[in-house]
């Protein structure tokens, strides 16, 4: 009787030891599963649970218990990154949150969590990148610049690895475009700059191009945009300084005829590499004729003379032929005539994001900056680019931020909310967080 009881106890002990789970890895795996499902808050909760069970991130493989003869490592030698994971998934959740207050609160927490990992000496390129994005989202330019300075100081000494499986594929692709990788083991080699080469100027990307068109002069006085040509120069500077566009990759047309615009656009389209990113900005007179949008040249004498205009879709096609992603912004008055207005035409093919400076039947307006008028829309574009200070600006996030800026969200000094409301980007065949 006594021996059988002893045996039962021993069996119970053995059974318990064979059923006990390795809780931190389970929580971490649950987090990764939630990442794959896009459940960011659930993923964040799982990573936080993993932190509560095993607190510190580890860049090197986690050796698992097992035979001494085998180098048995957890998750195929991956880094253990629950702190990074919690912050990153929080960032993703914040971006997806449409409630401003909740979003800001969460983004602040995320920024603090990323900073905490940097304080511990766990500086990875991924951490710098997403922290920069978080600060941009928070419009905290001072911290953005401070981060850029720290990143520049760290240089190529960033050796910390994070678990690449945490990062969404589109973000991983963005990081890889800087020359580093965010693979499973997140080995960083030949890292480029994800957040800027140095304070003041964002690192340029060779595959990004811009075509800026500003026609102040026009024969159609009622639709004139008086600050169109100067807005182009204003925006050009912002793109170079804050968004990673090389000066040589930007073609500018001021006060050009339709033919001149076409020639310049075609020349640019001919030299861009396949799959490039195109920032397309037009400020001037536009029209919609028979459902098709046209950009007027300075020689256009009639709002119905399509022969002296350039079809918007024709402009798009030049770059679509190269498989480019087109990010188009139009600062055009949009009167409704015969039920039609500029911007009615929505592209069906190509990868295009199209944003209008004002609603249909509304006019564009300006604000005075440094003694000169600047279009409200252009001013907001430039201002938000300055906030992002990134060569990988997500389009929809950028659209919302520009929208808020124009509504007076930026220091309340533009006061545009009462006189001009822009549209959000209309996106065709690209993701909402596609970057330009």
């Amino acid at each position: 009787m006594k021996s059988s009881r002893t045996i039962l106890v021993l069996l119970a002990v053995v059974a318990a030891s064979f059923s006990m789970a390795q809780a931190w890895s389970d929580a971490y795996s649950d987090g990764l599963r939630s990442v794959r499902d896009g459940n960011w808050m659930e993923a964040r909760a799982n990573f936080q649970k993993a932190i509560s069970l095993r607190g510190e991130d580890q860049a090197t493989p986690t050796r698992l218990p097992g035979p001494a003869t085998e180098q048995r490592v957890w998750k195929n030698g991956s880094a253990y990154s629950p702190n990074f994971g919690a912050a990153y998934t929080g960032y993703k959740a914040a971006i997806a949150n449409t409630n401003d207050s909740e979003r800001t609160t969460l983004m602040r927490a995320v920024a603090d969590e990323f900073e905490a990992t940097l304080i511990k000496g766990q500086g990875s390129r991924e951490t710098y990148f997403f922290l920069a994005q978080a600060y941009a989202n928070l419009r905290d330019v001072a911290k953005q610049r401070d981060l850029e300075a720290r990143f520049a100081q760290a240089g190529n000494t960033l050796k910390w690895k994070v678990d690449g499986d945490i990062i969404a594929p589109e973000d991983r692709a963005t990081l890889e475009s800087f020359g580093g990788t965010a693979s499973n083991n997140s080995t960083i080699t030949n890292a480029g700059s994800p957040i800027g080469a140095a304070p003041g100027t964002i690192a340029p990307i060779a595959e990004k191009f811009a075509l800026l068109i500003g026609n102040t002069e026009t024969r159609l006085e009622a639709l004139k945009v008086p600050y169109a040509a100067t807005d182009v120069m204003f925006l050009r500077e912002k793109l170079v300084t804050f968004a990673g566009y090389q000066e040589g990759n930007m073609d500018v047309v001021t006060n050009g005829t339709a033919a001149q615009i076409r020639t310049t656009a075609q020349a640019l389209a001919d030299r861009v590499p396949v799959g490039s990113t195109i920032f397309l900005y037009f400020s001037g007179v536009g029209a919609n004729l028979d459902g098709k949008d046209f950009l007027a040249g300075i020689d256009t004498s009639s709002g119905t003379d399509s022969a002296s205009m350039l079809g918007k879709s024709d402009l798009y096609k030049m770059f679509m032929a190269k498989g480019c992603k087109i990010f188009a912004f139009f600062q055009v008055n949009r009167p409704i005539a015969a039920g039609r207005y500029f911007g009615m035409e929505t592209p069906m093919v190509g990868a295009i994001a199209q944003t209008q400076a004002t609603l249909p039947n509304e006019k564009v307006n300006s604000i005075v900056r440094n003694g000169a008028p600047v279009g409200l829309f252009t001013d907001a574009l430039g201002g938000v680019l300055g906030e992002f200070r990134s060569n990988q600006v997500p389009i929809m996030e950028f659209g919302w931020r520009t929208f808020n800026w124009m509504r007076g969200g930026r220091n309340g000094d533009s006061g545009a909310g009462s006189i001009q409301t822009m549209t959000l980007p209309v996106i065709v065949n690209m993701k909402e967080d596609e970057r330009f």
Binding site: P61, P65, P67, A68, R72, N185, T187
Partner: protein, 391 residues
Amino acid sequence: MENQTFRSARRTLALASVAVMSMTAHAQIPDLLAAFDAGGRSLGLGSSIGATSSNPNSAINNPAGLGYANRPTFSITFRNLTESRSVWSRSFVNPDVTTDSVSGNRSLSQVGFTRPLGNNSSIGLNYSIGGFIKDQITGTNLVDGETILRNYQEEIRAKSDLFTLAWGKASADYRQSFGVGLVLATHNTRNLQQYQLFDNNGTPTDLNDDTFLSNESLNNSGQRIGFGAVAGLQFNPSADTTFGVSVRTPIQLSGGTEVSDYYGRIPGKASAGLAKRLNKGLKSSDFIIVGAQADFFFGGDEDDILSRDSSQLAFGFGAEYNYRFRDAYIPLRIGFRNVGKGGAGFQSTSALTFGLGYNPDAGSFGFDLDFGSNSRGGTDMSLSLSYRFKN
């Protein structure tokens, strides 16, 4: 040069089968009939980590190792099959014998696959060579009573193939593991013999007056099959220490009536091993693994032509330095193995072993190249490749 006592006598020309039964006992074959190492990393470490490892070969070496497999893994090993060459002289009944090992031909010696089943358990399917001998004997003017044998040539080849289906499970904290397996054994035997028989006319030392009697030849071959079981335990009292024990039952062979007298039972094998990881090295990321293992073979059949003693002992020890190079480990290993004599007609053998490998972190593959320098001559060489699939 060594003398060997016959277990059976050959006296008449007609009793060829009796001759077959005796001839295999004449040689001094390095005894790998049951203690053949299928190669791979283990070979380079003097066969010292079989009982303490976790790889597809664990299915037969110690199925407890399967409990630690966390990714589907495939491995394949090629190695030479050590042979021996014997030269007889003077007498057929009690010849003077000289035997040397040679490397032999290369062959597939192991292929295996493990698949995790969840809950810290895995299943493994493995093929490996469990035993192999091939002795080629030559001799001439071998006196056998009133006859004399000239141009004597014989080849005896025996090979045990082990097919194992095993399952292992580790505890949640990976401190212990157990495993069991079923072993299908096939044993192939081939015995070729030919010579010219002369009547020595009462003058065995005078080779000029012999009378030719006949040409004699023999060709026996066949396959025998049997089933056995294997079970094992592994303990990891600390993260850097592992004990392993495993037992394989003797395997009774059946079938192959033409060769049934050669080998009736594959001996059982009991292994006990100890492995230790030393976190020391030139760099902090380097480490060393040392291992030692003893194998005890039991339950063989003494009455077989390929006779087995009641027991046979083999032991090995080795060390592996894992050098960190970029994002990979390069293991450099050295070891020593001794296999004791396990039956009449056999002799003990030992080998100094060494090898290296390459195991990248990110890659799913690894390879090992290992060598053994045998005390009886010949060099072993093994190439092992492994691939770990994603879960």
